[in-house]
């Protein structure tokens, strides 16, 4: 049987991959992808804790479901914004974004 810790380690790994991506990538969309990784890793944790530690209850599952919903919402809005930015600036690199402040 797989130990709970293995799952946790896996999710942690995924989370930090996302973190690293968030730190280093310049492209807004890639940064968003990194955020998805982070959220995903958190979802795994919810599910794992629910299954292993509190199997009678369902909070973890529901939080995962809601989190997936929220992330979907967030992605939709974020992509809308990104498209808007792209439309204005023909570019979605982070370093160009300081122009937004000036306008």
């Amino acid at each position: 049987m797989v130990q709970m810790e293995w799952y946790l380690v896996l999710s942690t790994f995924m989370m930090f991959a996302g973190v690293y991506g968030f730190f280093t990538r310049r492209n807004l969309l890639t940064m968003l992808i990194s955020i998805e990784l982070i959220l995903n890793s958190v979802d795994i944790n919810f599910a794992v804790f629910n299954r292993f530690l509190f199997p009678e209850q369902l909070e973890g599952v529901f939080f995962t479901i809601f989190a997936i919903g929220v992330s979907a919402a967030e992605t939709a809005v974020a992509i809308a914004i990104i498209i808007n930015i792209y439309r204005n600036m023909k570019n979605i690199q982070v370093r160009n974004l300081d122009k937004i402040k000036e306008e």
Binding site: F23, M31, D98
Partner: protein, 628 residues
Amino acid sequence: MEYTLLLLILPLFSFLVLGLLGNYMKPKVAGFIGTLSLVGITIVSYFTAYNYFAAGRNADGVFPTLIPYNWEWLPFGKLSIDMGVMLDPISVMMLVVISTISLMVHIYSLGYMKGETGFQRYYAFISLFTMSMLGLVVATNIFQMYIFWELVGVSSYLLIGFYYTKPAAIAASKKAFIVTRFADLGFLIGILIYGFYVGTFSFTPDTARLISAGAMIPLALSLMFVGGAGKSAMFPLHIWLPDAMEGPTPVSALIHAATMVVAGVFLVARMFPLFIDFAPEVLPWIAYIGAFTALYAAAVACVQSDIKRVLAFSTISQIGFMMVALGVSTSIDPNNGGLGYMASMFHLFTHAMFKALLFLGAGSIIHAVHSNEMSAMGGLRRYMPVTHITFLIACLAIAGIWPLSGFFSKDEILAACFNFNPLMGWTMTAIAGMTAFYMFRLYYCIFWGKENKELHEAHTPKESPLSMTLPLIILAAITCVAGFIPFGKFVSSNGTAYHIHIDATTAAISLVVAVCSIALATLVYARSKQPIADTLATRFAGLHKAAYNRFYIDKVWIFITKQIIFRCISTPIAWFDKHIIDGFFNMCGKCTAYLSKKIKWLQDSHIQHYCIWFLAGTVLLTIILLIF
């Protein structure tokens, strides 16, 4: 004796009036007020002297020490500075000397200073000086003496710098003040030691305390002597006095010949009982310093060409005599080793008179020829008979010719020296001879010798007005008769009456030496051509030059002040302050600015970077939490 307070109030009052309102009154009025107050002071001091000595001796056969006034001025816990008036033989004697000379100078200045700008200021300053000097001599304790000592110093500073537009006068006044101040530092520390160990600033402390203080008393007294040496121009602190001649000549007569410069002698005399009983080992050193100073100054005086400089060095030399006389005293009993004290005071008295006369005479000459240099003079006897005669009397007196006053006092000094040590006696006799020589060199160069015809034709010298000659005549008269005053009856080391008897041998020796010296001077300088002097000057060119330059002592002092104090201490300190200390604080500021510039990139408005720091910080905190 309550009226003695007038001695301080009168001149203070005239100083305040002249100082504050002087600009609003005519010069003549100012001079009149000053002189009038001095007349008042003179009357009071003569009256005091008469009353004091007429009151007679007490049961112990001494004149009692009277303290009509003594107020606590500033208490320091157990100690306190008092202000008051104390009368004893020497202070009364000094009162007479100061008021006489000061009155003469006041009258003389009416003529001499006529038309000078700042006439009112001049009178204000000499009033201030008179007050301080009187306060000094009647001081009831050492601290009051110090206070007036400082005031005397400052009035001397103000008067030397009277012609404040002349750079030489400014430099001289500065030098005088700073050198004496330097010496006063010793005086002050001496007072502090004395006050602490003896528990009082008074002149008559508790004997038990003195004994228990042990070695501190000689130390304190020596330091006080340093102060006295500064004021009285003892070697090597004498350098200010010749320069102080930049002041108006009457001031030189009053301050730098008759009164202030003998304050050091007065100080030693005042502390004499303590010196004798608790620091007898210090006294010979005073004598040695005095003797060396006398010798040095006499040597320098022989070659100076500025007449006031000659007189200045002569003053230094004569004060050296007084110091020697005090120093050679070996006991409090005037009949047995304590003669010097009386001799010193006597010489102080007579010297004040004839030296003031000399200076006033010199002032009269300067007034006539408008120069201090001997080269501008010569042959003046025809133009200025009164000045000539009085000057001659003074020269004879200082040379020690019977029956003028200088003979008597110098004789006592020499007798005291012979008692102490024959070598000292012979040295002082030789110096007395030198005195006669340089004084007559001066005399001949002024009144006989080679006349500066061109100058005298362009501007014929004429006798000074009555206001100037009158003081000369009065002082000459005093000089003539002062020797016959039974001085020992009034002042002696233990207060008992001492009968002055002329020691025939000493008197004969000194007379012979004096006459020989005068003859020598006559031989060398009396003619209009002076071949011997020129030969000597060329033969011993190095020595002559050295003596003319006062053996380069001034150079040493300039080196010390300019090179050491300014160049080697002050400038580096200022540099240190500006660059190291200030630099350090500026560096702190710059480092802060630099650091903030360096870490500015942390705040680069990139969210990603903030996130990195956020994560790093969180991780760090977690690690810290895990560790502790």
